[in-house]
C-alpha cells in the first residue's frame, strides 16, 4: 500500500468517524506531506474513491418540504416526486457537479450516422433484486419512459425518441425521429429515464415499490410521511454509499424543520434565506448555499387579443422600470444573481452578468417615451398573479407592481395557492404571473415556449409574440450535434427574449440547506435535488 492509499484510508475513516485522536496525529503528518506534494484530496474525491473494505455506516434523516406523491419511475414530473425516488435509480448518463455528461449505467456512447445514439452498457451492474442489468432491461425502461403507464404522463422532452434496439447484451441503440442534440442531456438529467428491471411494472407495484440500480434500496414508503432506504451493498459505483440508512421525512412546516434540526431529529433540510439567517449562529450546524435552476420571471399572456402588452414597446417599457437590484437585495438579501432565460450555473449557456446588466438597465424616461409611442401613456389596469408560497414570488410581484406605477400601470397583485396558480398557468388563465422556471435537461427546454407553435407557446403567447430570428435559431440549434456550436445560438436567443421583453426574467435566487455538522459531503445541487446525499457521510455512527 503506498502513501496515497494511506491518505485515502485516513480520509475515509475520518469521514466515517472511525478515527482516534492517536490515528489523527499519526496520519496528519502523512496528509500534510501529501498536500505539500499537491496530493490534497477533496471530500468529493473522497466520496468517489473505492472503499472496498468499508461498510456503509450511520443513519441520516433528511426533511422534505413536500411529500413524494408516489414512487413511479416514469412520467411523474413534480419536484416532490423526484425527491422521493432519486436515490433508487440511475440513468445511462449522469452529470457531474458542473453539468458535464459523465458515464452512468452506460460506459460510453456515440451518435451513429442517422443521428441516433449507441450506448455501451456497464457490465456487472446489479439491480436491487439481485439481477444483472442487460440491454433488455434498458430497452424495457426506455420504452416505459417514452410511454409511461398511468398515472405517469408522456414527457415532452422524450417525444423525439422513437424506440430502442438491442444490439447485443451490453449495447443498445436509442433511435430518434430527427437528429437530437438534447438526448444525452435529458438522459443525464435522469429524472425521466431511470433504468428498471425488465417487466418491473408487471412484477411490482410501481406506485409504492422501487427496484433500481441506485445506491439506496427501498425499505418502507408511507404516503405523506416517510421514505426509508438502506444502502445497496452491490451498488455499481465506487466508494458509495457511505451511509447505511437514509430516511426522508416530510415536514411541511419550516419552523418544524428548524426545531427538528436543532434537536438532532433530522440531519438537514432546505430553508428559506430568512430562516437561514436565524440558524447562522448555531455552531452545531453548517449552512450550505448554491445556485439552483429556478429563474424567477414575470410572465405575460399575449394570446388574448387587445391586451396592451402585445405591443413590444409596452413590455420593453416595463423592463426598463424594474429594478432587479432592488429585488435582489430586498427579496433575497443579496443572495441572488441576474438571470436570462437560462440561469447562471447552467454550463456555458447563460448570458454574462455584464450583458444582463446592459439588457436590464433602468431608464424611466425612455420607458415613458415607449409608452407614449405605443399610445398607452395613461397606463392600464392588470392583474398580476403570484405564487403565494414561497413568499418571494409575491414579493417580486409587489416590487414590479410598485415599479410600473411610474408608467401609470395599475398592477393588482393576487397571491394564489400553488394548485390554483398552476391551473391558471397551464390553461393560460392569467394576464401577468410572477413565477419561476425549473430545471431542464437541455438548454432548449428553457426557451422552447418562445418558439412559435410549440405546446405552451400557443396557450401563453398565441399570435401575440413571434420573432422569426428566434424561430430560425431555435430550429438550427436543435439540429446541431456539436454542443459548443449550440452555445452562441442559445445566448443569442436569450438576448432576443430580453430585447423583445417577451417575458421578464428577474433573478436566480440561491438555495439554502442547513445540515448538522455530523453530516459531511452534502452540497446544494444545481439540479434542485438532494443528490449530494448520495455521497454524504456521517462522522458519528450512533
Amino acid at each position: 500500500m503506498d502513501e496515497r492509499d494511506n491518505d485515502l484510508r485516513f480520509l475515509i475513516d475520518l469521514a466515517r468517524g472511525r478515527f482516534s485522536r492517536r490515528d489523527a496525529l499519526k496520519a496528519s503528518g502523512a496528509l500534510a506531506a501529501g498536500a505539500a506534494l499537491g496530493g490534497g484530496v477533496s471530500i468529493r474525491q473522497l466520496a468517489n474513491v473505492s472503499a472496498q473494505d468499508a461498510e456503509p455506516v450511520g443513519e441520516v434523516v433528511w426533511a422534505l418540504d413536500a411529500p413524494p406523491p408516489n414512487l413511479i419511475p416514469y412520467g411523474a414530473v413534480s419536484q416532490a416526486a423526484w425527491n422521493g425516488r432519486e436515490f433508487f435509480y440511475d440513468s445511462l448518463v449522469m452529470w457531474d457537479q458542473d453539468l458535464n455528461p459523465i458515464p452512468g449505467l452506460a460506459e460510453s456512447w456515440e451518435p451513429d450516422e442517422s443521428g441516433s445514439y449507441i450506448f455501451h452498457l456497464r457490465k456487472g451492474v446489479k439491480f436491487h433484486n439481485g439481477n444483472e442489468m442487460t440491454a433488455a432491461d434498458v430497452k424495457y425502461s426506455m420504452d416505459m419512459a417514452i410511454a409511461p403507464p398511468e398515472p405517469g404522463v408522456a414527457i415532452a422532452v422524450l417525444a423525439n425518441i422513437t424506440g430502442t434496439d438491442i444490439v447485443d447484451d451490453y449495447t443498445v441503440k436509442i433511435n430518434t425521429a430527427t437528429v437530437d442534440p438534447t438526448l444525452v442531456g435529458n438522459l443525464a438529467w435522469g429524472r425521466y429515464t431511470a433504468i428498471v428491471p425488465e417487466n418491473f411494472y408487471d412484477t411490482s407495484n410501481a406506485l409504492s415499490e422501487a427496484v433500481g440500480t441506485g445506491p439506496m434500496k427501498l425499505v418502507e414508503y408511507v404516503q405523506d410521511d416517510v421514505v426509508v432506504m438502506e444502502a445497496f451493498p452491490d451498488f455499481w459505483g465506487d466508494g458509495i454509499p457511505c451511509i447505511n440508512k437514509l430516511t426522508l421525512k416530510t415536514l411541511t412546516e419550516e419552523q418544524t424543520r428548524v426545531a427538528a434540526l436543532r434537536s438532532g431529529e433530522i440531519d438537514g433540510g432546505t430553508f428559506t434565506a430568512d430562516t437561514v439567517m436565524t440558524l447562522e449562529g448555531d455552531d452545531s450546524l453548517t449552512i450550505l448555499e448554491g445556485l439552483v435552476s429556478i429563474p424567477n420571471v414575470i410572465q405575460f399572456q399575449t394570446a388574448d387579443a387587445d391586451v396592451p402588452w402585445r405591443d413590444a414597446r409596452v413590455r420593453q417599457a416595463i423592463n426598463k422600470v424594474i429594478d432587479r437590484e432592488l429585488i435582489r437585495q430586498n427579496v433575497f438579501g443579496g443572495k441572488a444573481e441576474l438571470t436570462g432565460a437560462i440561469p447562471p450555473g447552467y454550463g456555458d449557456y447563460p448570458l454574462t452578468p455584464e450583458k444582463l446588466a446592459e439588457l436590464y438597465a433602468n431608464d424611466v424616461d425612455a420607458a415613458k417615451q415607449l409608452m407614449i409611442d405605443a399610445g398607452f401613456e395613461d397606463g392600464f389596469e392588470v392583474e398580476l398573479q403570484a405564487i403565494a408560497a414561497p413568499r418571494s414570488y409575491t414579493q417580486n410581484a409587489e416590487i414590479v407592481s410598485e415599479a410600473v406605477k411610474q408608467l401609470n400601470i395599475d398592477a393588482k397583485v393576487v397571491p394564489l395557492e400553488i394548485g390554483t396558480f398552476g391551473d391558471n398557468n397551464g390553461s393560460g388563465a392569467f394576464q401577468w404571473q410572477a413565477t419561476g422556471r425549473g430545471m431542464r435537461g437541455d438548454p432548449s427546454g428553457y426557451v422552447i415556449d418562445f418558439r412559435q407553435g410549440t405546446n405552451q407557446n400557443v396557450t401563453w403567447f398565441g399570435d401575440g409574440y413571434n420573432n422569426e430570428e428566434f424561430n430560425t435559431l431555435y430550429d438550427e440549434a436543435l439540429a446541431e450535434l456539436d454542443q459548443a456550436a449550440r452555445v452562441p445560438m442559445y445566448q443569442r436567443m436569450q438576448e432576443i427574449i430580453a430585447e423583445d421583453a417577451a417575458n421578464l426574467y428577474l433573478v436566480q435566487p440561491y438555495k439554502f440547506q442547513a445540515v448538522n455538522n455530523r453530516l459531511t459531503g452534502m452540497y446544494v445541487s444545481f439540479t434542485d435535488t438532494n443528490q449530494g446525499l448520495r455521497m454524504a457521510c456521517v462522522t458519528d455512527t450512533e
Binding site: V61, P67, P69, N70, G75, A76, V77, S78, A81, E150, P151, G152, V153, A154, I155, A156, V157, N205, L207, S208, Y221, V222, Q223, D224, D225, V226, T247, K249, T250, L251, T252, E253, Q255, T256, V258, A259, A260, R262, S263, G264, E265, I266, I418, G419, T420, G422, D423, N424, N425, G426, R437, G438, I448, D449, N455, Q456, T459
Partner: protein, 316 residues
C-alpha cells in the same frame, strides 16, 4: 332512551348525504386537479397527455356521474384509492386514525384535569389574586391559536433542551413511554384553548350554582363545605361544562390537523391537508366524511351523557 339514540342515528344518514354532496362539490370548485400535480404545469407534459390521464382517472366525467360512482362504491364499503399512491383509503385512514384519536383524547384529558379544578377554585376564591390570574390566563389561552402555541413549544424545547418529540410516530402498544413522550407536547398545544374555555365555563357555572337556594340550604343545615361543594354544587355545575367539552371534542378532531402538521404527525388532519394540497379527491372525501361522522357521534354521546347527569332532562 334507545328510541332517541336510534332517531339520532337515523338522522346521521341525511346529514352524511348532505355532507358528502358539499364536500364533493367544494373539492371540485378548487382549481386544478391531481393530474396537474402529477404532470406539473411547466409545459413538460402536453395538454393531450394530461387529458388522457384525466379520462382514465374518471375526472373528465360529468360531476353527477363522478358523485354517483363514489357514493355507489362507498355503499359497498369501497372508499377508493389514493389518486397519488394507489393505496386503499381505508388503510391510509386506519394508519392515521390512532394518532388523531390519541391526540384528541390526551388533549381533552389534559385540558379537563387542569381546567375544572382551576375553574372551581377560581369560583370559590372569587375576586382574589388567584381568580384574577386564572381568568387572565384563561383569556390568554383562548386568544392563542394552537399552531402558534405548538410552534413556540417546538422552538423552545429545541433551543433550551436540544430536544423535540420524535418525528416518527411511536405506537402506544409498542413503547408506551416513548409514545407519551412524543405526544405530550402536541396534546398540550391542542389542550390550551380548550383548557381556557372549560376553565371559564366551570367558573361561571360554579358561581351560578353556589348562589342557588339548595346550596344555601345545604350550608344552613350544617354540612361541611367540601361535601356542599363537590356533592351539591359541582355535579350540577358540570352539566353545561360537559356540553361545552363535547362540542369542543368534535372540533378537536379537526383542529388537531394544525397541531399534527406542526409536529410532523401523520394523523387524519395532516393526511386531509396533504390530500387537499394534492387534490387527492377520494382521500379528502373519505377523511372529511370520517370527521363529520365523528362530530355527529360525539354530539350524540354528549347528549346521552347530559341526560344521565341530569335526570330532569328527558330525551325524546
Amino acid at each position: 332512551m334507545s328510541k332517541y339514540i336510534l332517531q339520532r342515528l337515523a338522522l346521521l344518514v341525511p346529514t352524511l348525504l348532505g355532507m358528502s354532496l358539499l364536500i364533493f362539490a367544494m373539492l371540485r370548485l378548487l382549481p386544478g386537479d391531481v393530474v396537474d400535480i402529477i404532470a406539473g404545469t411547466d409545459g413538460t407534459v402536453s395538454s393531450a397527455a394530461k387529458e388522457k390521464l384525466r379520462d382514465s382517472m374518471g375526472l373528465s366525467d360529468p360531476i353527477p356521474v363522478q358523485y354517483a360512482r363514489w357514493i355507489g362504491n362507498l355503499l359497498t364499503g369501497d372508499a377508493g384509492k389514493s389518486l397519488r399512491s394507489g393505496e386503499p383509503i381505508g388503510e391510509i385512514l386506519m394508519r392515521a386514525l390512532p394518532i388523531t384519536i390519541e391526540l384528541a383524547i390526551l388533549g381533552l384529558f389534559i385540558s379537563t384535569i387542569v381546567a375544572i379544578p382551576l375553574g372551581v377554585i377560581s369560583a370559590v376564591k372569587r375576586d382574589t389574586a388567584f381568580d384574577f390570574a386564572a381568568r387572565i390566563g384563561g383569556l390568554v389561552g383562548l386568544s392563542l391559536p394552537n399552531f402558534w402555541v405548538a410552534t413556540l413549544m417546538l422552538l423552545f424545547t429545541s433551543k433550551a433542551f436540544g430536544w423535540t418529540p420524535s418525528i416518527r410516530f411511536i405506537p402506544f402498544t409498542q413503547d408506551p413511554i416513548g409514545n407519551l413522550q412524543q405526544m405530550i407536547l402536541p396534546s398540550i398545544a391542542l389542550a390550551v384553548p380548550l383548557m381556557a374555555i372549560t376553565m371559564r365555563m366551570t367558573r361561571t357555572t360554579m358561581l351560578e350554582v353556589l348562589g342557588q337556594d339548595y346550596v344555601r340550604t345545604a350550608n344552613a343545615k350544617g354540612l361541611a363545605p367540601r361535601p356542599v361543594l363537590y356533592r351539591h354544587a359541582l355535579k350540577n355545575a358540570l352539566i353545561p361544562v360537559i356540553t361545552v367539552i363535547g362540542f369542543q371534542l368534535g372540533g378537536l378532531m379537526g383542529s388537531a390537523a394544525v397541531v399534527e402538521v406542526v409536529f410532523g404527525l401523520n394523523g387524519v388532519g395532516n393526511t386531509l391537508l396533504q390530500g387537499i394540497f394534492n387534490r387527492d379527491y377520494p382521500l379528502v372525501q373519505a377523511a372529511t366524511l370520517y370527521l363529520a361522522v365523528a362530530f355527529v357521534l360525539i354530539n350524540l354521546i354528549v347528549d346521552v351523557l347530559y341526560a344521565w347527569l341530569d335526570p330532569r332532562i328527558k330525551l325524546a
